[in-house]
Symmetry: C2
Subunit: 304 residues, 2 copies
């Protein structure tokens, strides 16, 4: 009880996670797709667990700016972000990329369905995100201009100058010596861009003005980076049972990481500074932004 005096992040996270998963199930509840295997493969990856950080951040940004109560006004954007995140993991795990057998404690998509179906399941999740964002029966309380703006922001963040660009930098830097600036740039694209887009999308849908959106993007870039530092630290120090994947795998691959470049202590300091900057970016927001402020701290304290 004592932890939950004013606002209990744990309840908030678990409540939002359940709502997001219910919405995902609702939006993916139309198995008319022709070979059932592709439908199964998209469901397999989308429901293989995960913290649902991007959807939760999107919803928290929407609430911070006083977004309405109607679930189907914000959930399609929240779920589209999770679909894009999920597709990126399916493709990253492929033999031609990171060649991972395990993700969140279960076999990766290509280990279960074969490489061909895994590639297509990733493609399908990415496509489904944009189908969802443009569905005529959803987000009926949002004006079309804002919906279009959200599609654009998410597409840019997922593209060559965002998520995909970051993944290319990641592949190209394996086994190479890269400095802190390059490492920050890589993760800024690979993780930060979509997280910042999640926050901006929530803000846009809630009707936020330019200054609010700018603050949310700034918040997002900083927690995106601290999120990655926390991930790197967990890979070094984490508990394999909690993570559901092998620890120490980054070092084995010779991947550039924050702990490898800065050491664990300095990495933790950097993550803390980024969290402070993130919280400072929300100075102009009222108490409705408390979940976002708490989430910033949670991201570096998490154990999985």
């Amino acid at each position: 009880m004592s932890d939950c005096a004013s606002f209990c992040l744990e309840s908030y996270l678990s409540e939002k996670k359940i709502a997001v998963e219910q919405a995902l199930a609702r939006y993916l509840d139309n198995p008319k797709s022709h070979p059932a295997v592709i439908f199964e493969a998209t469901r397999y990856s989308l429901f293989a667990g995960g913290k649902r950080i991007r959807p939760v951040l999107c919803i928290a940004a929407w609430e911070a700016l006083g977004g309405g109560k109607k679930d189907d006004d914000i959930m399609p954007a929240a779920c589209a972000l999770e679909m894009i995140h999920s597709y990126s993991l399916v493709h990253d795990d492929l033999p031609a990329m990171d060649n991972d057998d395990l993700r969140r404690g279960v076999p990766t998509s290509h280990r279960v369905f074969g490489e061909d179906i895994a590639i297509l399941a990733g493609d399908a999740l990415l496509t489904l995100a944009f189908e969802l964002l443009s569905r005529p029966d959803l987000m009926v309380g949002i004006d079309f201009a804002r919906r279009l703006q959200v599609i654009n922001i998410i597409a840019v963040a997922a593209g060559m100058n965002g998520l995909i660009g970051g993944q290319v930098l990641d592949l190209k830097s394996e086994g190479q010596k890269i400095g802190l600036t390059a490492l920050k740039q890589m993760h800024g694209l690979k993780t930060g861009a979509l997280i910042a887009a999640a926050l901006k999308a929530g803000g846009i849908l809630a009707g936020g003005d330019a200054a609010a959106l700018e603050a949310l993007a700034c918040f997002g870039q900083r927690i995106g980076l601290s999120f990655q530092i926390a991930d790197d630290l967990l890979n070094v120090e984490g508990d394999m049972a909690l993570l559901g994947k092998n620890t120490g795998s980054d070092a084995k691959r010779g991947k550039a990481t924050f702990p490898a470049l800065l050491g664990c202590e300095e990495s933790r300091n950097l993550a803390s500074r980024l969290t402070e900057e993130a919280v400072a970016a929300l100075a102009g927001f009222d108490r409705k932004a408390d979940p976002l402020r708490k989430l910033a701290g949670f991201i570096i304290a998490r154990k999985s």
Copy 2:
């Protein structure tokens, strides 16, 4: 001159192809993406030739319904369709899928850039399509509701119940005995869905009513199927030099094709019937639809 008495399809096609390629170059002229290789890989596949059939059909549908003269109102949709087509070819050619070394006479993306970059280049082209469709500086003459409708129609056609579903059926039917109904269903998804979407998108952007859109979709499904029959026939009978890929490859793989199921003559008859039905679907359209009518015939008469 005699062939071109009233309307010269050849000039029309070459004029539109040039306009589409200029627009593609314009929309892809922002190489700020971080590792240059991903930008190069997307350009490589997008500019490796091709007939630009989907963009041309989209533009022809737009013109058939009296769409305006402003290039940037229709070209983003036309180019997005080509990007999606191009991504689907890059992924189809991968070792885990059809494992093709040659496409349009040049090495496939994964042969040039490696499998990892080819997967990401496909992802980038798909994402770029939706970025383009939602760009705030383009399609300024189109109202937001119609833009959103076009995004949805294209996403559905590219997804599990369209292009991707068709590719899964294709993979799963290799080496299997499938009947004519299953073959039609597969190509209806793999080729027909995106072609029908191209036509509907052009119609929607031109402000077409429900009946006109229905007629365009009907036209699209029929020429989509006749397009595939023509492809199959070219694979059996075509000139490898004109096609830029190996002929006879379908038979070698034991792929189900129209000629394999029906024989060449009956396949040609079916393609002709579909073309007639397609043209009949446009009965309510005036002379502005002549390019569409001629395109229907061209699709089954082409040599590459």
